[in-house]
C-alpha cells in the first residue's frame, strides 16, 4: 500500500479501523480530539459505531460492555480523562477484557496544560487503578510506529485478554508524517467463547466479572493474572538500541523525546563522543535486559523525559547500581532541547556530574 501523509491523531483512527476496530467510545479533550472526530466521520462508513459518552467514566464502562460482548473496541483521552478512566481500566484488567486505550499525554498535575508531556508514565506502568494489574504499554516515537503498534496492539490485547495502552504525547498526536498500513505478523488468537452474546439456548451463561469474594478464589485469580503478565514479559518486550556496547554515555528516552535525544547523539558523534541510546518501545513490559548489554566501562546513563523523572526509576532497576543514573527533564509542556542534552552528556563524560 502507498504511503499517505497523516496527522498523528487521525492515523490512530485509521490504524484502528484497519485492525478491525468497529466501536469507539470517548469524550472530548485536547490534544486528542481529532481522533474521536475522525472516528465519528469514518466508523459509520464501515458499519461501526462511534458514541460520544457523557464522561470518560461512562466511555470506559461502555468499552467494558462492548469488550465483554466480544467486540474490538477502543477509547482515547488525554491525561485528566485517563485519570477518570482508571476505575474502569482496573475492572477491564480484572475481568480480562481486551481493548485499546490511547493516552495523548498533556502536562499535569490537575488540569495542567494542553502542551505535550510524558507525566503519566507512572500511571500507565504502575497501575493507576486499584489492584495488582498490568497494561501492555506502547510508547511510539513516530507515526508509522504508532500505526504499526495499534494494529499489533489489538492482536496483543486479544491474545492475552488484556487492555493495551498507547502512550503518546501532544506532539505525536499533532504532527504529520507519511504512513503505510501494513499487516502485522500473524498471531494465534483464541476464540472469544467467553463473550456475552446471549446463550442462544446452546450453552451455559457467560459471565464477565472481576469479583471473587472468597480470598482463596481471588488469590487464585491473581496468581493466574501474574502468570499471564510473566508470559507477556517474556514474549512482548520491544526496544530499539543504538551503539550501547561501546558507549561512554547511554541516553535512555522514549516516545518523541527519543527523537530529540537522537538529534543530540548525531551532533555529539560529530564531535567524537561515543553515545548510545536505549529506547523502550514497550514501557511495560520494560526492556530491563537490554541494559545488561551496555559497555561495562560506560560512565553513566542519562534518562531524558518530559516530566520530573519517572522512567528513571526503571532505568535504576535495570542497571542494578552498575552505572550512575542521571536525569534531565522538562516539565509542564516544555520540551527538552538537543543542546541541553548535549551539555549534560558532556558533563557526564568529563566527570563533572
Amino acid at each position: 500500500m502507498a504511503k499517505v501523509l497523516m496527522k498523528g491523531n487521525e492515523a490512530i483512527g485509521a490504524a484502528a479501523i484497519q485492525a478491525g476496530c468497529r466501536y469507539f467510545f470517548g469524550y472530548p479533550i485536547t490534544p486528542q480530539s481529532e481522533l474521536p472526530e475522525y472516528m465519528a466521520r469514518e466508523l459509520p462508513k464501515v458499519g461501526g459505531v462511534f458514541l460520544q459518552a457523557e464522561s470518560e467514566i461512562a466511555a470506559i464502562n461502555m468499552v467494558y460492555g462492548a469488550a465483554g460482548a466480544g467486540a474490538r473496541v477502543m477509547t482515547s483521552s488525554s491525561s485528566p480523562g485517563i485519570s477518570l478512566k482508571q476505575e474502569g481500566i482496573s475492572y477491564l484488567a480484572g475481568a480480562e477484557l481486551p481493548c485499546l486505550i490511547v493516552n495523548i499525554m498533556r502536562g499535569g498535575p490537575g488540569l495542567g496544560s494542553i502542551q505535550p508531556s510524558q507525566t503519566d508514565y507512572f500511571q500507565a506502568t504502575r497501575g493507576g487503578g486499584n489492584g495488582d494489574y498490568r497494561l501492555v504499554v506502547y510508547a511510539p516515537a513516530n507515526i508509522q510506529e504508532m500505526v504499526d503498534l495499534i494494529i499489533e496492539g489489538f492482536d496483543v490485547a486479544d491474545q492475552y485478554r488484556n487492555p493495551v495502552m498507547i502512550l503518546g504525547d501532544g506532539m505525536i498526536g499533532q504532527m504529520m508524517e507519511p504512513v503505510e498500513f501494513k499487516t502485522p505478523k500473524k498471531r494465534e488468537l483464541p476464540e472469544k467463547d467467553w463473550a456475552t452474546t446471549g446463550t442462544g439456548g446452546k450453552r451455559k451463561p457467560n459471565i464477565i466479572n472481576s469479583l471473587y469474594i472468597a480470598p482463596e478464589d481471588l488469590e487464585a485469580h491473581n496468581i493466574r493474572l501474574q502468570a499471564k503478565y510473566q508470559k507477556i514479559r517474556e514474549k512482548e518486550v520491544k526496544v530499539e538500541s543504538y551503539k550501547i556496547e561501546d558507549a561512554d554515555v547511554v541516553i535512555s528516552a522514549y516516545g518523541t523525546t527519543s527523537r530529540i535525544a537522537k538529534t543530540a547523539i548525531a551532533k555529539l558523534e560529530k564531535e567524537g563522543y561515543k553515545v548510545g541510546l536505549i529506547r523502550p518501545i514497550t514501557l511495560w513490559p520494560y526492556p530491563y535486559d537490554e541494559f545488561k548489554k551496555i559497555n561495562p566501562n560506560c560512565k553513566g546513563i542519562l534518562t531524558v523525559e518530559m516530566n520530573a523523572g519517572q522512567m528513571v526509576d526503571d532505568v535504576k532497576i535495570a542497571v542494578e547500581g552498575k552505572f550512575p543514573v542521571h536525569f534531565y527533564g522538562r516539565m509542564g509542556g516544555m520540551v527538552p532541547t538537543p543542546e541541553a542534552i548535549i551539555e549534560k552528556v558532556k558533563k557526564i563524560c568529563g566527570g563533572e556530574i
Binding site: Y23, F25, V49, L51, A53, E54, S55, I57, A58, A59, N61, M62, V63, Y64, G65, A66, A67, G68, A69, G70, A71, V73, E87, G88, Y91, A95, T196, T197, G198, T199, G200, G201, P205, N206, I207, I208, N209, S210, L211
Partner: protein, 248 residues
C-alpha cells in the same frame, strides 16, 4: 396433578445470599419469569453493578456482566451497541443508580438507549450496612444519619421515576412495589411492558421497584412490608408515569 407454581427457568437453581424477608428475591423471580414469557432469555445479557444484587450473575440464567458501582447503564450501552438485536437489561440499587450512577442513568435515558432498567429502591445502602441513600426518607434512620435524615442537612429524597419521565428518550417509566400479592402481579405486568418497549425498539424503559431491607431497617420481614406501605408508598406513589404512546 396440575402444577400451579414452579421455579422459573429464568433463574439458576441455586440458593441466593439475600437476607430472609428481603424482596430482592421476589424481584429476581419477576425478571426471570418476564424474560421466559417474552422468549428472550436466550438472547438476554444482564448487567448487575455492586450493591446487594452484585451476585445476580449467579442467579439470572443468562449471560451477565458484573459492573462497577453506578456504571451499569454505560456498560449496557456498550453491549447493546455491539448486539442491537439482543435483549439487554440492568438491575441496580438506589445507592447505585440515584447517587454514584446518576449521570449514567440520565444519559442512557436521554440517548433513548434500547435497554431496560430494573431499579430496586429500598431507601438505603443495603450491601455496605445501612448508610443513607439519596432515596432515604426524611426522618428515616441510617448509620450515616443516626438521628434520621434531615432535610435541612441533605435535602429531600430524590424521586427518580418522576425525574426520568421528563426525559424524551425514556419511553416507559413505572413505579411498582412488591409488598402484596396484588402489587407483585402489577410489578410483573410493568416489567413485561417495559421489556417490550426495548424489544419493539422504542427507547429506554425503567421500572422502579419499592423494595424492603429488613436487615438494615432493623425490622422483621412483616414489619418491613408494613413500613414500606406506610412510609415509602406515600412519598413514592405507585403507578405508570410514561408509556410510548404518551411519550410522543
Amino acid at each position: 396433578m396440575t402444577i400451579v407454581f414452579e421455579r422459573t427457568r429464568g433463574l439458576t437453581d441455586v440458593e441466593t445470599h439475600y437476607c430472609p424477608g428481603c424482596t430482592h428475591g421476589i424481584i429476581h423471580r419477576l425478571v426471570g419469569e418476564a424474560m421466559v414469557e417474552l422468549g428472550v432469555l436466550e438472547k438476554a445479557i444482564g448487567v448487575a453493578p455492586v450493591g446487594c444484587s452484585v451476585f445476580a450473575y449467579n442467579y439470572f440464567n443468562c449471560d451477565m456482566h458484573e459492573a462497577a458501582h453506578g456504571r451499569a447503564p454505560a456498560v449496557a450501552t456498550g453491549i447493546k451497541r455491539v448486539h442491537p438485536d439482543k435483549f439487554v437489561f440492568t438491575y441496580q440499587g438506589d445507592g447505585d443508580l440515584a447517587s454514584i450512577g446518576m449521570a449514567e442513568i440520565v444519559h442512557a435515558a436521554h440517548r433513548g438507549e434500547r435497554i431496560s432498567t430494573i431499579f430496586v429502591n429500598n431507601a438505603i445502602y443495603g450491601m455496605t450496612g445501612g448508610q443513607m441513600a439519596p432515596t432515604t426518607l426524611v426522618g428515616q434512620k441510617a448509620t450515616t444519619a443516626p438521628g434520621g435524615r434531615s432535610e435541612e442537612h441533605c435535602g429531600r429524597p430524590i424521586r427518580i421515576s418522576e425525574m426520568l419521565a421528563t426525559i424524551h428518550g425514556a419511553k416507559f417509566v413505572e413505579r411498582v412495589a412488591v409488598n402484596t400479592p396484588a402489587n407483585i402481579r402489577k410489578a410483573k405486568k410493568a416489567i413485561i411492558e417495559c421489556f417490550k418497549v426495548q424489544l419493539e425498539g422504542k427507547g429506554f424503559g425503567i421500572v422502579e421497584v419499592l423494595s424492603t431491607c429488613p436487615t438494615n431497617w432493623g425490622m422483621t420481614a412483616p414489619e418491613a412490608m408494613k413500613w414500606l406501605e406506610d412510609n415509602m408508598i406515600p412519598y413514592y406513589p405507585l403507578g405508570n408515569l410514561k408509556r410510548p404512546e404518551e411519550a410522543e
